[in-house]
């Protein structure tokens, strides 16, 4: 989230889409109710299903799963057409005035630079026109060798067009090549008629939503977009979120209290996971993973750091990449990382291709990957196409599951259709502590890292993950010491400074993550003190300040809120720098005066920025005009994304889902042309809706947490059985009554469960076509403890093995199925 949960009380309107906060984030969601009770805020819910969030919303609109790009593009068009945007904000805080180069084009669904053979864009033309010879900052990105993607897998983004110089601007926004004018053109195709015909949202409902949310484009109103994995689980997921960013910047809602682009993160501790790089493409703190061919630290820093595109851009990442990287290397390799060996940069992994979740399992399936660990994650349940994943696990030599409970993965040889005799994989189950049994921090969706204390000691021989991973490391290191190996340096030189080497306490890990000044040994207060000379060591710059000489800041429980804005700066600690609202400089005008005096983010008091912790140099006067978005090379928010950052285009464009009942009416390009795809996967996709006529979506219920709570009797009692939600009209058509058993089939697999026939699933009218949607919750499986789950009750038996172009997040939502009564 750019904002945070308590800040929801400052909103005038909520657009909740692809999320079900009442069910999945009830504790944070209560602040939306506070906004409604105290400010009269409106709550809009857009979702394929009428859920418990819809039940308390002021307005619900059904939407066809996977058409969210169209929905947001339609809202953007409505805001532009009706001039509802916050003009002063748009001119001051966005790149609307930037001039895009002549060579950038968009034709019939494709942006310039597409190469059909590689299924990739050369994004060189997605660039601003530059003022020649104006380059001040030498950190220009350089072309780096990129992945050969002929295997069909998506490559990491190409290097940007490295034309030197600042971008040209037209602050009147009138230049036909200005971002603003290009936007008007691009989004004008997304008329309310088209939106309704593609999304299935009745036109009058769409207009009602557009009117309510569009009204937040004034200085004294704040609109909040709340989303979750309902938006990211699509082949164009990243572009859907881009649509939110564009809408919110046009309305002046980014950086403002009560506004924001607010992702609800998964059950604890997904936010903390991603922050600390439990994802292949980043190093801790969202630093880029080095690529093959990067031989030196310079290669890496020059490629990863952004080029400065405007004289008013602070371009924070552009200037600190080296000190952040050196500090990280010092943390990992200690004294072995020296200036002479380039701080051991060569020891960092440089993955040769996209090594995301689907690739890992695809490699296992192809027997190129021999061993796998599951920790806090269950491969069989959590990925797409469970049958394919079970095949992957069956092809492993060994498989380790660390979990408090047996999972569908630790028991995968019992899966239906699997003959245990045939499975040669050696499976180890290591019972671990549950989070209730260990201390540590959870980072919530609003970026608050909150320390929690173990509630119970673990029983019996159960060990915590720290112990298990420490043992793994210590024994591997011993093997390397004794036997050598191909590349022992990173293992032998990894620092291991813990008091208890066998079981490093989480507090010591937190101190490492925070970082130290190495000459004094003192914990750092701020990442601004990171040095590139090897005198600081920082595990994750985002968390510097969370565990300092003053103590564990995440364990604070101060309830002072002097501004009344709900910042609660002494409650826990939020990244970065204990800042509660990101981009908060944009909450004020050119003079540093809050857009809304009753809801100040930060304000210039004549000598300092005060209020929230400023996302800005605290003493930089507004008249100097430094840009509010200090992480971008532009210094402002990006309505148009220049090349090198995204794989599928500078503006969001609608493409149909991998499996869809509709042919894309917007262009000749039916599907996302750069979706993350395996060569053999399309054979498992339905080509159209003839065999599989209904759109299915998957989701979680408030009563359960993933697959774990099938082991909790009270929760099984509260929501006992797997079910399939069907619209009344579809059920009637198929002769299915409420509580009848049904079979749901996709091209990949089938599930069997009880039909819940409900008015909450609405048939959608798309032009002349009526489309029915089917809802399938994810919680049931064959290793369910108290649950009564069976093999054929795992939602992901149905889902397709394809991912988002940029993130490779699988398309769990909006695929085709058929339904029949058993």
């Amino acid at each position: 989230m750019t904002n945070h949960w308590v800040d929801f009380k400052n909103s005038d309107a909520f657009l909740v889409i692809g999320a079900n906060p009442a069910e999945n984030h009830p504790c944070g969601w209560k602040w939306a109710h506070v906004a409604r009770d105290t400010r009269g805020a409106k709550i809009i819910h857009v979702d394929p299903r009428f859920t418990r969030t819809s039940a308390i919303a002021d307005l619900w609109a059904p939407i066809r799963a996977g058409t969210d790009v169209t929905f947001f593009n339609g809202l953007i068009n409505y805001v532009l057409e009706n001039e509802l945007y916050h003009e002063e904000y748009v001119k001051l805080h966005t790149n609307a005035s930037f001039i895009v180069g002549e060579d950038f084009e968009f034709n019939d669904g494709l942006f310039s630079g597409y190469d059909e053979a590689t299924r990739l864009y050369d994004s060189a033309t997605w660039d601003y026109e530059r003022i020649k010879g104006s380059e001040l900052n030498p950190s220009i990105r350089e072309k780096v060798p990129r992945t050969d993607a002929t295997d069909g897998s998506a490559a990491t983004p190409r290097s940007p067009a490295a034309t030197p110089g600042f971008a040209k601007r037209d602050k009147t926004l009138q230049d036909p090549r200005s971002v603003f004018q290009l936007m008007k053109k691009h989004f004008s195709r997304y008329t309310p008629e088209m939106v309704s015909g593609v999304t299935g949202i009745p036109q009058e409902k769409f207009l009602e939503i557009a009117e309510i949310f569009g009204a937040t484009g004034t200085a004294d109103k704040a609109g909040n977009v709340v989303y979750a994995v309902g938006l990211t689980h699509h082949t164009s997921g990243t572009q859907i979120i881009r649509g939110i960013g564009i809408l919110q910047m046009l309305l002046g809602n980014v950086g403002k209290p009560g506004g924001g682009v607010n992702a609800e993160r998964g059950h604890a501790n997904i936010q903390g996971n991603t922050d600390n790089a439990q994802s292949w493409e980043i190093l801790p703190g969202y630093m880029a993973i080095p690529k093959p061919g990067m031989k030196t630290l310079d290669d890496y820093v020059n490629a990863a750091a952004l080029a400065q595109l405007d004289p008013h851009a602070l371009n924070f990442f552009g200037s600190v990449y080296r000190s952040m990287t050196v500090s990280l290397l010092k943390q990992w390799f200690g004294e072995a990382a020296t200036k002479d060996n380039d701080f051991a940069f060569s020891w960092l992994p440089k993955p040769d291709k996209n090594w995301s979740w689907m690739t890992i399992h695809d490699e296992a399936r192809s027997k190129r990957l021999h061993g796998l660990f599951n920790g806090g994650m269950s491969s069989v349940n959590i990925g797409p196409d469970s049958n394919r994943v079970i095949e992957s696990l069956s092809n492993l030599k060994w498989f380790v599951v660390m979990d408090p409970f047996p999972t569908a993965s630790s028991e995968f040889w019992h899966a239906p259709g699997v003959d245990p005799e045939e499975v040669q994989t050696e499976v180890f189950f290591l019972p671990t502590t549950h989070w209730i049994e260990k201390s540590g921090s959870f980072t919530n969706s609003g970026r608050w890292a909150q320390w929690k204390h173990a509630a119970l000691p673990p029983e019996g021989n159960i060990r915590n993950d720290n112990y298990i991973l420490a043992q793994l490391f210590l024994r591997l290191r011993k093997l390397y010491e004794e036997e050598g190996g191909a590349f022992p340096d990173p293992i032998l030189n990894l620092t291991w400074p813990y008091l208890n080497q066998d079981d490093p306490p989480t507090e010591e890990l937190s101190a490492e993550i925070n970082g130290r000044e190495l000459t004094t040994g003192l914990l750092l207060d701020t990442f601004l003190d990171a040095k590139d000379d090897g005198t600081t060591a920082i595990g994750n710059w985002l968390y510097t300040g969370s565990y300092t000489e003053a103590g564990n800041m995440m364990d604070r429980r101060g309830t002072d809120d002097p501004t009344g804005m709900g910042y609660f700066h002494e409650w826990a600690w939020s990244w970065p720098a204990n800042r509660r609202v990101l981009y908060n400089r944009a909450s004020a005008d050119a003079k540093g005066k809050p857009w809304d005096e009753t809801r100040p983010g930060i304000r210039w008091n004549g000598s300092l920025w005060v209020g929230d912790v400023p996302d800005y140099p605290p003493d930089s006067p507004p008249e100097d005009g430094l840009g509010a978005f200090n992480m971008t090379g532009e210094g402002v928010g990006r309505l148009f994304v220049p090349g090198g950052l995204l794989l599928d285009g500078p503006f969001p464009e609608h493409y149909e889902q991998t499996e869809s009942p509709l042919v894309n009416p917007f262009s000749a390009v039916d599907k996302n042309p750069v979706a993350f795809l395996y060569e053999d996967a399309p054979a498992s996709f339905a080509k159209d809706d003839r065999e599989f006529p209904y759109v299915a979506t998957t989701y979680r219920l408030t009563e359960h947490e993933h697959y774990v709570t099938q082991h909790v009797p009270q929760l099984v009692e509260a929501m006992p059985d797997f079910f399939v939600e069907l619209p009344v009209e579809l059920a009637k058509k198929k002769g299915i009554a409420n509580t009848d058993m049904v079979r749901v089939r996709s091209k990949r697999g089938e599930v069997e469960g009880m039909a819940m026939v409900t008015k909450r699933m609405r048939p959608l009218r798309l032009g002349n076509k009526v489309v029915y949607q089917v809802g399938i919750p994810v919680h049931w499986h064959y290793a369910g403890g108290h649950g009564k789950g069976k093999g054929a009750q795992m939602a992901n038996l149905l889902t397709p093995y394809i991912g988002d172009a940029n993130t490779a997040t699988p398309e769990f939502k909006g695929f085709l199925v058929d339904v029949e009564k058993i």
């Binding site: 009442a22 069910e23 009830p26 504790c27 969601w29 209560k30 109710h33 409604r36 009770d37 009269g40 009428f50 418990r52 969030t53 819809s54 039940a55 308390i56 002021d58 619900w60 009745p202 408030t702 009563e703 009797p713 009270q714 929760l715 009692e717 509260a718 929501m719 006992p720 059985d721 079910f723 409420n738 509580t739 009880m754 039909a755 819940m756 026939v757 409900t758 008015k759 909450r760 609405r762």
Partner: protein
């Protein structure tokens, strides 16, 4: 010694004039407490259901999905709190999903208590809580028939009737009921009745401003008010929520009969049976017939009621007062 939230007894079932005024310190005003369920804030998460089970150590039951998000089809002897889900069609293409926490409303005029023939099996405290004492319950289920909200449930194994106690033991120790504590949105509130009415009235005004013209605070007159009120956004849909529009205590209460016949001593047994019979004729049979033997034996035991079965106050207080008045 009573505290502000203390458990001075207001009345007991089948027990004439069972108040505890003699021992009460009149300088301490008995606080009338109430829960309030603000349906506008309720997200149907069932945390209250589970907290209720956990705190009261109630048996986990084997449930089956019956085509609804509702966990159990009905309240049971070990499910005292149930989220009820009802989908209704509105004008146009819109729908509403009515979700209501169903549990004892703790009536000011409790139909269960008035119907109960077992002395002291149902107690109403001055703070408004209506509680069952299963040690004294004779399993006749008149309370089930007497309740206008259909709350008490008979357990065929223990032959006793159960319902929400409003976590009386938590309240008397300065804590809120378990369901209130577990509620993540503040939908279930707890406080003095006065404060809750104030909150409710303010909330109803806000709902009306939001376009819920029929929003109301559910605190029905027919039972002289309740100690679990609801803020109902769609007041025109009480029936769909499963709330009676005008609940009343029907049938003859057992208590007036008893007070008249008390002096007849050993005849009390017969009086009990007579009273039960009259009640039965008036209200009809909804559950298996009462166990008349149990009624009779309870009547015999009446004089020598054992002490200490309720956590507080001391039952002998009430016995002494009975003697005075009768």
């Amino acid at each position: 010694m009573t505290t502000e939230l203390g458990l001075a007894v207001k009345r007991k079932s089948a027990t004439p004039s069972s108040g505890t005024n003699i021992r009460r310190d009149h300088s301490i005003k008995q606080v009338e407490v109430s829960k309030l369920v603000d349906i506008d804030l309720c997200i149907g998460c069932k945390a209250c259901e589970i907290a209720c089970k956990e705190w009261n150590d109630l048996e986990v039951e084997e449930t089956h999905n019956f085509g609804s998000y509702q966990s159990h089809e009905d309240l049971t002897a070990s499910t005292w709190d149930l989220m009820r889900f009802n989908e209704v069609e509105l004008d146009g293409n819109d729908i509403a999903w009515l979700i209501r926490k169903d549990s004892c409303l703790h009536c000011e005029e409790p139909g269960c208590l008035l119907a109960c023939p077992a002395p002291g099996a149902i107690v109403q405290y001055e703070n408004g809580i209506v509680d069952f004492d299963q040690d004294k319950c004779i399993g006749c289920q008149y309370c089930v028939s007497g309740c206008p909200f259909d709350i008490p449930r008979f357990d065929s194994k223990t032959k006793k009737v159960y319902k929400c106690t409003m976590c009386v033991e938590r309240i008397s120790n300065g804590m809120e009921p378990a369901c209130v504590k577990a509620c993540p949105t503040g939908s279930i509130r707890f406080g003095t009745k006065e404060d809750m009415v104030l909150y409710g009235e303010e909330k109803v005004a806000k709902l009306k401003a939001r376009g819920f013209d029929d929003a109301l605070l559910y605190d029905p007159e027919g039972v002289k008010g309740v100690h679990m009120m609801y803020v109902v956004p769609r007041g025109e849909m009480l029936d769909e929520y499963g709330l009676p529009e005008d609940p009343r205590v029907t049938g003859l209460s057992f208590f007036p009969l008893m007070s008249g016949l008390k002096k007849l001593g050993s005849l009390a047994t017969w009086a009990g049976l007579l009273g039960a019979g009259v009640f039965f004729l008036r209200t009809g049979r909804r559950f298996p017939p009462p166990e008349d033997k149990a009624v009779a034996s309870a009547r015999e035991k009446e004089g020598g009621e054992e002490a200490g079965t309720l956590s507080a106050p001391h039952p002998e207080e009430t016995n002494r007062k009975e003697g005075e008045r009768s």
